[in-house]
Amino acid sequence: MNVFNLLSLAWKALSRNKIRTFLTMLGIIIGVGAVITMVSIGEGSKESIRSQLSSMGSNMLTIRPFSNSTIGGGARLGSTGLQTLKVEDAVTIQKQASYITDVSPAVSTSGQAINASLNWPTSLQGVSPSYLNIRDWKLQSGISFTDDDVATSSKVCLLGQTVVNNIFTGGENPVGKVIRFKKIPLKVIGVLEKKGENTFGQDQDDIILAPYTTVQKRILAITYVQTIYASAVDEKSSDTATKEVSAILRANHKLKYSEIDDFTVRTQAELISTMSSTSQLLTVLLTAIAAISLLVGGIGIMNIMYVSVTERTKEIGLRMAIGARGIDILLQFLTEAILISITGGVIGVVLGISASKLVTVFLSWPTLVSEYSVILSFAVCAITGVFFGYYPAQKASRLDPIEALRYE
């Protein structure tokens, strides 16, 4: 018998007992539907956590100079005052590293920001325009400075919310105004969105951003950079990106094999590990639920298939008498079990996806229907059908035709 015959045979047999078939299917439908809904709620919250963490810069790399050498009385230098990182390093990383999306050199200094009669102690950070991408920082108003501004060391700046609140009186629009920082006038061209405190309680909005060349030349009079910020393609490739950056910098700094790095690359390892452990726990829990619900559904199928085999003993006897082989009978009943589980699976998938949408609409929880949960639960479903359908089907195929024919 070919597949088409088997399917049409199974379809007819199942449609003869519609209610029973439906109830059996219900176990699978609820199982699959629940799994997909749960996973999509889980994935949704995972995704929202991920985006929150990303806004903190979970894929950010921080590159600082480093030295193991000592001065005078044996005090080690660390990174203080080292001048080994250059703008060229940032340029090379941007050009050569494939796991890095954005790179920004950074120099910073602190001082008083003055506007009219108000002043406020804050820090001035000199960066490139891509710094905003690295930190995933948006502008509340105005525009950002550009690469041209960097090239010409133009006297422009972006203000953090805290700075705005302290040197501008309520309602005044800072964009277009000129403030002074260490006697240098800087034109405000944009205001940064509020970012709040970081995990250590530092106010991230107490900052002024300006082109790094402006800070280097006009305020600090230096040519080196203090820090290089870079963003990896995603959290997962942070480690690879770190290795890549190290290799590039070693080559740039012409370090011999025996020499240690004159820089350090740091990732947001803590954030990443927190995130992955959370999602791992979620996955384990959901997989357990999936396994249990499909097990229950599978037992339902097995039970009904047993009843069906007993009920149709005479039919089995007849089929054998007119030439059905054991394998024909086995395949017939197995096909019925698989048809129940797969049809149930399809309905369950549709139900699960709609339920996730409803959760988003009515409870406004974030949900995300992931392909893997659909594929996985569907596959488990088909396997359930084969696994739980096999034993009853085998029982049917081993019946003695003589006894089966006489069965009443």
Partner: protein, 260 residues
Amino acid sequence: MANKILDIIDLKREFKMGSETVRALKGVSFSVDAGEFVTIMGSSGSGKTTLLNILGCLDKPTDGKYLLDGADVKSLSRNELAKLRNRKIGFVFQSYNLLARTSALENVELPLLYNADVPTKERREKAMHALEAVRLADRMDHMPNQLSGGQQQRVAIARSLVNEPVMILADEATGNLDTRTSYEIMALLQELNSKQGLTIVFVTHENDIAVFSSRTVTLKDGRVIKDVKNENVHSAKDALAALPVEKDDQKLPVEKDDQK
């Protein structure tokens, strides 16, 4: 033309019931030629059911030889036996054994489903021909519970014919039917036997059914006690005509049969 369809030689069948051994067949020998209409008679306990199961390739003999259309059944595997049943034997049962809630046409198609030599396209056509042969062309889409007992048995006969077997094996095929319907079935079988030369082996315990066959083999206690050619074969058609006429048209279901 002495082409032997069935040839059994010293057939024995024993069953183990606990410590006892029941000898159902104690050495049965006879053969059936192509085109014969043989009835096998015997009271209950004579071993005719056991013999029928062996003839139908549903059971194997303990000892002795059984050749069906030249094939030695004893050496065949379970799957080969299934193929033999499918191609060479057409079963007709006492209780029809039609699949419930399945149309007459689909019931007749059933054996073709297990015959890989018949393509899907031809299946329907063959089944229709078989139903025409039993004069049920107008009831193809009826379910078994919409048919009378006689009609159901005719569907079963169509089912047995559809694979063009070498032999029809009928087991008390008229046992559930009234006299008139029984005669109708016998008339149909006689017609198939004479017109198409179909070999029929008919197991029964009713004497008045045996008179329609060309030969009667009688079993008793597991042995053949009588094997006679019937010199005076009655025509079931004539017998039917001789029955007192009832006012209903004989084609209509005359009795409501609860058996399915």
